[in-house]
């Protein structure tokens, strides 16, 4: 069943069309990859899907509801979580507290409840702490829980950001270059993490340059080049697609069309 329907999404910046009439579906319980040369429009598309950028035209339907025009906060509360190409952790908080902040997308108790230290606020706090511990264990980085984010190695930062995104309780998780900055061992562990996330019933879309990882984990791949979708299909098909090969080999080439 199609969880996310991207339809004719276009985003322009001045004269540049960063995303040009892109459509695709993401099916529930699958891992989909968005690939393409630098500047293909992958991150812009992510921003358009998560309320950080409003597309100029097109529609994004998630679980039957239109996402275009919603703010980031409403998008994440609707069940779409994301990470960033440049990790956006909270440096003054520990790894565990970073993940607890993600839980805020699901929390109801407000400022006054906290100010009066009402039992409901304390219960929510305990729940967030427990959930953060559980997610850090799921990802295999529980030993970093009390370390300030500012002191975390780059690879662990990426994984903490994934844990934080999972804490929002998403049905769809968008990961922007999760393997960037990871060493070979960490990349292998990331693959296992992605499978665990998918097996937990969460649909995943990744933007990634690490082709080995993309070909291994994804059920389907969308290839973007200069804002347009040039191919879509399972990994084996994409690897043989002449348009894809041309886009990658001809990067910065002179074959304008």
């Amino acid at each position: 069943m199609s969880l996310l329907q991207v339809r004719k999404v276009t985003k322009r910046f001045g004269g540049l069309t960063a995303v040009d009439d892109v459509s695709f579906d993401v099916f529930e319980g699958t891992i989909k990859a968005l690939i393409g040369p630098n500047g293909a429009g992958k991150s812009t598309l992510f921003n358009a899907l998560t309320g950080f950028d409003r597309p100029d035209s097109g529609s994004v339907v998630f679980a039957g509801a239109e996402l275009v025009g919603r703010r980031p906060r409403d998008t994440v509360r609707a069940g779409v979580a994301r990470t960033f190409q440049n990790t956006q952790l909270f440096d003054e908080l520990t790894a565990g507290e970073n993940v607890m902040v993600g839980r805020q997308a699901r929390q109801r108790r407000g400022f006054t409840a906290a100010l009066l230290r009402l039992p409901s606020a304390l219960a929510e706090d305990r729940d967030a702490r427990a959930e953060a511990g559980r997610l850090l264990r799921l990802i295999g980085i529980e030993e970093w829980v009390d370390v300030p984010a500012a002191d975390l190695p780059a690879g662990i930062r990426r994984l903490v950001e994934i844990a934080r995104a999972l804490a929002t309780g998403p049905r769809l998780l968008l990961l922007d270059e999760p393997a960037a900055g990871l060493n070979a061992t960490e990349s292998r562990e990331l693959v296992q993490t992605l499978y665990r996330v998918r097996d937990a019933g969460i649909t995943v879309v990744i933007v990634e340059h690490h082709m080995g990882l993309v070909m291994e984990v994804s059920d389907e791949i969308v290839v973007l080049d200069r804002g347009r979708k040039i191919a879509e299909g399972p990994p084996r098909m994409i690897q043989k697609d002449p348009a894809v090969i041309a886009a990658y080999l001809g990067e910065g080439g002179d074959d304008d069309d």
Partner: protein, 326 residues
């Protein structure tokens, strides 16, 4: 374990010292100095939330203190309302001012926000001067009665001290609850990364607005207490210099902490009255210290930023950026 016990006992010891001080310090002027320290501490608790946790700079907090002071003076003197009502109106009016100042903070940050808040502060300072029918203009507003709770007038130096510090105590407790739970993490989150906070479902606008409002409210209450303690207010009190002093206290105290800014507020207030604290101090020395006061603050801030970016709080907590260091 010893360190943990110490940390658990430190707040109790601090409360005991503050509560029992008037039994030891009987000099009325000195007691007033510690009362002023409490009034400044109340403003700085608000700034510890706004600046120390949410990372929003305000160079206009003296305006909220002034708003609270004039509101309370007007309610008690001109309208003849009971002091607690004037106190509440002072907080509410300052909170409203905080709501107004929160608007630019939604679009501006860093130096631009500093400039916007500075502009707000100057505008309010000018208003205090020009709104003569209400504020008394440059001549000031006198004859403000002591605070009173029902039939009980709080006029005695020790009683004023206790009233002020009781309000500080409630404010610190509320601020501790806020910073140690979800709202505090949200504040520090938007200080760290706004996109990250948005992607985590944090209500960025709501957190900023609430923090500004609470911070302004505390400053307004401090203003009402100041008016009651001194009995006379004039525009020359609520100036940029005062705003800078409050911010200096918050910066020196350190980010992510409440105890650090509180201590800094007390220490920097005492510097202003150094001659009263050290009776043997030659007058020249105290005059020198007074005339270079702002320079001393400035130098202290520079030194803190270079050598101890987490402020006083960072000196006792190796992990200065934590909310639990309160």
């Amino acid at each position: 374990m010893g360190g943990r016990t110490l940390r658990a006992l430190a707040p109790l010891a601090a409360v005991a010292v503050v509560a029992l001080l008037p039994l030891v310090v009987t000099d009325r002027f000195l007691l007033k100095v510690f009362t002023f320290a409490g009034i400044n501490a109340l403003v700085v608790v608000g700034l510890a939330l706004l600046f120390g946790h949410a990372g929003q700079v305000s160079l206009g907090h003296a305006a909220f203190v002034g708003l609270g002071a004039y509101a309370s003076a007007y309610c008690t003197v001109r309208l003849g309302w009971p002091w607690p009502v004037g106190f509440a109106v002072a907080g509410a009016l300052a909170a409203l001012g905080g709501l107004v100042l929160a608007m630019p903070s939604l679009r501006l940050k860093g130096h631009y926000l500093a400039m916007a808040t500075l502009g707000f502060g100057e505008l309010m300072a000018l208003t205090f001067q020009e709104a003569e029918p209400v504020t008394g203009g440059v001549d000031g507003f006198g004859g403000i009665p002591f605070p009173s709770l029902g039939p009980l007038e709080v006029g005695d130096a020790a009683a004023l001290y206790w009233l002020v510090w009781a309000v500080v105590g409630v404010a610190v407790l509320a601020a501790y609850n806020v910073t140690s739970l979800r709202p505090g993490r949200a504040m520090r989150a938007l200080h760290g990364s706004v996109p990250g906070a948005q992607a985590s479902g944090v209500d960025v606008v709501g957190v900023k607005v609430r923090t500004f409002v609470v911070s302004a409210l505390l400053a307004g209450l401090a203003g009402a207490l100041y008016a009651g303690v001194v009995g006379f207010i004039s525009p020359s009190v609520f100036t940029l210099t005062a705003s800078v002093t409050f911010l200096a206290m918050a910066v020196l105290g350190g980010t992510g902490s409440l105890a650090g800014p509180l201590l800094a507020a007390v220490l920097l207030t005492l510097v202003q009255y150094i001659d009263a604290l050290i009776p043997g101090l030659p007058q020249e020395a105290s005059q020198t210290i007074q005339s270079y006061r702002e320079d001393i603050y400035g130098l202290a801030i520079v030194l803190v930023v270079i050598f101890a970016p987490r402020g006083i709080a960072g000196l006792w907590s190796r992990r200065g950026g934590r909310g639990e260091a309160a």
